[in-house]
């Protein structure tokens, strides 16, 4: 390792909280269950944890909301649909530290008085199911021992990116097409089977457990005021170090690229196909976190050999296929963006047509029902605006 690397790893703050292996079984769960529901939520509030699935909603507020709605039954759902291109960190968590996830779910169950939980596991991760089930069986024994009335089941997804959206996920669990619902009402009010439901990302639950292990005040020393803690990043593309890395939030993209780039990084797609493409000249003033460019953890690096037209085309093809088709702006918009981009490339439409397509993404942002249609413009606009020549010629 040369000095440069040493230096940069001082700026890129690495952590090892999520994958730390503990020798004892469920001791954090046992001690945390001594706390009242209010105290659990209080600790979560204090930690400042924001959801790790991408949208960054304060986790404590979500738990609080579900707890406050009068109901005879409530549900805890772990979102393991992980379909965003370039994301694979939830898979790593479920494989390496499933007990952390189950503990996080149990703490949520205690906080909102739920007795049933589900892990919605994407079809593509089915090879994880047997081992995960074995962990769940042991977990249930500990729940009994600690007198926690809570059971977790795996629910297998059947392949649809949009089912990662929490209301589509719930529809899917209810045996329907995975079409997102209107919000409000939010799942915390009307969720699975109409009952108050907390849906959190795999990493969010794992992190909740860590907060109870190290304490909220220790945990929030990491990161920045807007983006507390550390987070997992799925790093792929043209990188020297592909894989899952735990980093403190609030770093600059420049420092990130220094650590992970191949020396020739032209752009980074932050947040997957639904995220933003950041060109090299913006690396220095781009902060990774909720105060800058937020991300569910997908970081795809492109070097100067890559055609950004191909990148854009690949994303548009993806959205076109994965749009549930329920609302017109998204269904037709995705088609038109794909066809329009191809037409511009072939010279069948002239340059100004791109402006029209950008306006279309604005319509989609306003007129679409869920985050899929609303976020297509992120990648489209950032690629078209920063790499116009590559789209045209």
């Amino acid at each position: 390792m040369n000095e440069n690397e040493n230096h940069s790893s001082g700026i890129i703050k690495k952590s090892d909280l999520i994958f730390a292996q503990y020798k004892t079984m469920y001791t954090v769960l046992e001690s945390s269950l001594q706390l009242s529901a209010e105290q659990i939520i209080e600790t979560m509030l204090d930690s400042g944890l924001r959801g790790r699935g991408g949208a960054g909603f304060p986790t404590a507020k979500k738990w609080q909301a579900a707890a406050s709605v009068p109901a005879v039954q409530r549900f805890v759902i772990c979102n393991a649909d992980e379909g965003e291109p370039g994301t694979f960190k939830d898979k790593a968590i479920l494989r390496q530290v499933p007990r952390k996830v189950l503990t996080g779910m149990a703490l949520c169950a205690k906080a909102i008085q739920a007795t049933e939980g589900y892990i919605y596991l994407r079809a593509e991760y089915r090879n994880l199911a047997d081992e995960l089930q074995a962990h769940i069986d042991i977990f249930h024994e500990y729940c009994d021992r600690f007198k926690l009335d809570f059971r977790v089941k795996i629910f297998m997804g059947q392949g649809a990116y949009v089912c990662g959206e929490e209301t589509a996920l719930i529809e899917s669990m209810e045996g329907k097409r995975g079409e997102p619902r209107n919000k409000p009402p939010f799942p915390t009010e009307v969720g699975y089977l109409g009952k108050p439901t907390v849906v959190n990302n795999v990493e969010t639950f794992a992190t909740a457990m860590i907060i109870f292990k190290v304490g909220a005040s220790e945990y929030k020393k990491l990161g920045t005021p807007d983006s507390r803690g550390s987070k997992l990043f799925s790093v792929s593309g043209d990188t020297r170090k592909p894989g899952v890395h735990e980093l403190e939030l609030g770093m600059s993209l420049y420092d990130f690229v220094k650590e992970f780039g191949d020396g020739d990084t032209k752009a980074v797609q932050v947040g997957g196909a639904a995220g933003m493409c950041v060109p090299r000249r913006e690396f220095k003033n781009t902060i990774i976190g909720f105060e800058g460019v937020p991300t569910g953890g997908s970081m795809i690096l492109f070097n100067s050999k890559r055609s950004m037209y191909n990148v854009l085309h690949n994303y548009l093809d993806f959205f076109n296929q994965e749009s549930c088709g329920q609302c017109t702006p998204c269904r037709v918009g995705c088609q038109q963006l794909l066809l329009g981009t191809e037409a511009v490339k072939k010279g069948e439409k002239d340059t100004v047509y791109l402006e029209q397509l950008i306006r279309l993404t604005e319509t989609m942002r306003i007129g679409s029902k869920c985050g899929l249609g609303r976020s297509v413009g992120n990648a489209f606009n950032s690629i078209v605006e920063n790499f116009k020549e590559e789209i045209l010629y």
């Binding site: 992980e82 379909g83 965003e84 291109p85 370039g86 994301t87 694979f88 939830d90 898979k91 994407r122 079809a123 593509e124 991760y125 089915r126 090879n127 629910f155 297998m156 997804g157 059947q158 392949g159 649809a160 990116y161 899917s172 669990m173 209810e174 045996g175 329907k176 097409r177 995975g178 079409e179 089977l193 799925s234 790093v235 792929s236 593309g237 043209d238 592909p242 894989g243 899952v244 797609q269 196909a273 795809i300 492109f302 890559r306 191909n310 990148v311 690949n314 994303y315 093809d317 993806f318 296929q321 994965e322 549930c324």
Partner: protein
């Protein structure tokens, strides 16, 4: 076709019954039931969807509507082994085309087709969460990563009848 439909229906009834015995027939059990049948029968035939519909007290069009929404609930016959090659950007950047070329050359099929001996079907899928080891594919539920022409050829042979 009354004769054959009676015998066939017996088979459909049996498989759907077994699925429902295991999961139940409330609406929220529909996906697990369809998944179970897919595992046993590889795909959801019209007769099976009709049977499921009657047991769930739904219209068969609605069962079809649900099944057709999901990439992994096929409503057309498919082979014993399903090859799902990732076509998303990172795999695309790292040689997905070579992998596909080898598969198509060995099996003589295109995407969404099944080999004559019904041993393989091929489909292109979106990101399967193996991007750090791209290019990647699934054969049935098993992921194979860091593929190149040689490795793909060798892996495929393991699934020959």
């Amino acid at each position: 076709m009354p004769e054959s439909s009676i015998t066939e229906n017996r088979f459909e009834k049996e498989i759907v019954s077994r699925a429902i015995d295991q999961f139940g027939c409330d609406r929220e059990n529909l996906l697990p039931v369809l998944g179970f049948i897919r595992d046993e029968h590889r795909y959801l035939s019209i007769e099976i969807m009709r049977e499921v519909a009657s047991r769930f007290n739904m219209s068969s069009a609605e069962v079809y509507g649900v099944a057709s929404f999901y990439h992994f609930l096929p409503t057309e016959p498919r082979g014993k082994n399903l090859i799902s090659v990732c076509k998303t950007i990172v795999c695309d950047m790292h040689g997905r085309a070579d992998v596909v070329a080898v598969i198509q050359d060995m099996l003589k099929i295109n995407f969404d087709q099944t080999t004559a001996d019904s041993n393989f079907s091929l489909q292109a899928v979106n990101c399967i969460g193996c991007c750090d080891e791209a290019p990647a594919m699934l054969i049935n539920d098993k992921p194979y990563t860091k593929l190149d022409a040689t490795r793909t050829r060798e892996i495929l042979k393991r699934y020959y009848p």
